[in-house]
């Protein structure tokens, strides 16, 4: 497999759009997540090559499920795009599922898979460059500008103020100052009033156009699909209190270390499973790290400029809001819409190339039958229909691949591969299902529940190595390019 194709499997639209949104939102974890999104596939590209350890039904089943989860997370991006463009989430999911089923059948699919990821990254970078030129600030100046804001408030031109916006997923907003919220879709709105002891819960059934007045400390629960309008100049609910809080998340501290370790182990382990060894060396292979760096830097850039110019874009958690809403604000409606369309097209191309690369990985692990791929796409569409948290889906997919698939790739013979995958699977499922088995999970177990691969992958790997000759210890082996 060539290096650009190996990279295509990693450049999932959900990964890049989540990074952009989380940078815009001032997420505490995002600095190391962004770095992990770049370094994890680089480690996989350089990882010692391995011999294939025979057929492994456990790894094949886990790979199928893991790829379905990753694809489902991508479909959520498509659902968000449809919601932002005025359609229903199902329009986006249906279109994305259709594309991922049909594109691999085209005669030019191999050519598309080789060149398209780099072209898509350039197409994602061009609109950002246009935004940066219009704003007249370098990325570091934009970051600095964002970090100096006294408060993150709704601008006059915000879509949340002018026409209102939809929430693609259920949300809970905490208000730090009194404000009036207008419901543009009829529905049930639940408010937890925390200015009394004990907190009071009130439910309001509002019709379209009816308003709700919220006080400082109130928490508003919103159903998926609800469309709301806010007042200009008021603080964005749920956003950091100020630019300083955006730049240096107040919650960041040593207690986050297990979660950080879990996220990085999941990313590196997932990359080791998903990103295959490349048979391409020399100068042609150098393009892969450059494309990866450009993609991650572009995603971070979108987030930084969104935070500097439009801090309300992260409200609602719509993954494509920075890409689709920032250009019209920076460049004006006409030019901005065209530039946003280019960014959306780039994400669409990344979706197709990533799906084609995932299909190749599936064919190498679970067989090349079209019915298996169709089942994966169908399962992914069903998962996406629940409007889940796309980051959670991606983490579970990468974590499952890391815990069950990676030990199989690192084992020296079939028995070791089966044992490693089995142990990884049992630990992963046990930790993932812990909140269902024991609802009052201790706080110190939280990182393991969020990132089960943190324990499952090392245990699976250790089992595979204990039962066989430690692969790669002192002598080179041949990991097949398409395991």
């Amino acid at each position: 497999m060539t290096a650009p194709v190996a990279v295509a499997v990693w450049l999932q639209p959900v990964l890049l759009t989540v990074l952009a949104l989380r940078v815009a939102a001032g997420d505490a974890e995002v600095p190391w997540l962004a770095l992990g999104a770049l370094i994890a596939p680089l480690v996989a590209l350089l990882a010692p090559t391995r011999r294939r350890a025979g057929s492994n039904p456990i790894a094949a089943a886990a790979a199928t499920l893991a790829l379905a989860m990753v694809l489902a997370a991508d479909f959520v991006v498509a659902a968000d795009a449809a919601t932002l463009l005025g359609g229903t989430p199902w329009h986006g999911v249906g279109l994305a599922a259709g594309l991922t089923l049909l594109m691999p059948l085209l005669p030019a699919s191999r050519w598309i898979g080789t060149l398209a990821p780099a072209v898509a990254v350039v197409a994602l970078l061009l609109p950002l460059t246009a935004v940066a030129l219009a704003m007249g600030t370098a990325p570091w100046s934009a970051w600095s500008h964002g970090s100096l804001r006294a408060a993150l408030t709704f601008p006059e031109a915000s879509e949340w103020v002018v026409d209102g916006e939809r929430f693609p997923r259920p949300a809970r907003l905490t208000f730090t100052e009194g404000q009036r919220v207008t419901a543009l879709t009829a529905g049930m709105y639940r408010v937890v009033e925390r200015d009394v002891t004990p907190p009071t819960v009130r439910q309001w059934r509002l019709g379209a156009g009816e308003a709700l007045t919220l006080r400082p400390g109130d928490e508003l629960s919103i159903e998926a699909g609800a469309r709301l309008r806010f007042d200009a100049g008021r603080r964005v609910p749920g956003a950091p209190a100020s630019g300083i809080a955006w730049a240096d998340a107040p919650g960041r501290g040593p207690a986050m270390l297990p979660g950080a370790l879990g996220a990085l182990v999941t990313l590196v382990g997932g990359a080791l499973a998903l990103v295959p060894a490349t048979r391409q060396w020399g100068l042609p292979a150098a393009g892969a790290p450059l494309v990866l760096m450009a993609a991650v830097a572009t995603a971070v850039g979108w987030g930084v400029y969104a935070a500097a110019a439009a801090p309300d874009l992260a409200l609602g958690g719509s993954l494509l809001a920075p890409l689709l809403r920032l250009p019209p604000r920076a460049l004006g409606a006409r030019t901005g819409d065209a530039v946003a369309a280019l960014a959306l097209g780039a994400v669409g191309v990344l979706l197709v190339t990533a799906a084609m690369a995932l299909r190749r990985r599936l064919a190498a692990t679970a067989g090349p039958r079209r019915a298996v791929w169709a089942a994966v796409v169908g399962l992914a569409a069903m998962l996406a229909a629940w409007s889940p948290d796309p980051w959670r889906l991606l983490v579970l997919g990468l974590g499952l691949a890391a815990a069950v698939w990676t030990p199989s790739l690192l084992a020296s013979h079939r028995a070791a591969a089966l044992a490693g995958s089995g142990v990884g699977a049992v630990v992963f499922v046990g930790l993932s299902g812990l909140p269902l088995l024991a609802p009052g999970v201790e706080a110190w177990l939280d990182a393991l529940v969020r990132y089960p691969a943190l324990v499952a992958m090392p245990l699976g790997w250790a089992t595979a190595r204990a039962l066989g000759d430690p692969a790669g210890a002192g002598r080179p082996r041949a990991r097949r390019a398409a395991q």
Partner: protein, 67 residues
């Protein structure tokens, strides 16, 4: 240095670079919050220094190694 040894050294270097971000952010006294030219040290490291170094290491390995 043989190809496998060079690869292993490169991977260790990449993982050390990766560990640097949470260490800068979460260490006591929070060194990552120090501002350099208006941007925090954590973001200079995570978005510029470490990515450029990591990409350079990977390119150097991929260009030199032939299997």
């Amino acid at each position: 240095m043989s190809v496998p040894r060079r690869r292993r050294a490169a991977i260790v270097a990449l993982l050390v670079l990766l560990a640097g971000a949470p260490l800068l952010a979460l260490a006591p006294a929070v060194p990552g919050a120090v501002r350099v030219a208006g941007v925090s040290l954590l973001w200079w490291y995570s978005a510029l220094v470490a990515p450029v170094l990591a990409t350079g290491i990977a390119i150097a390995c991929l260009v030199r190694d032939r299997e």
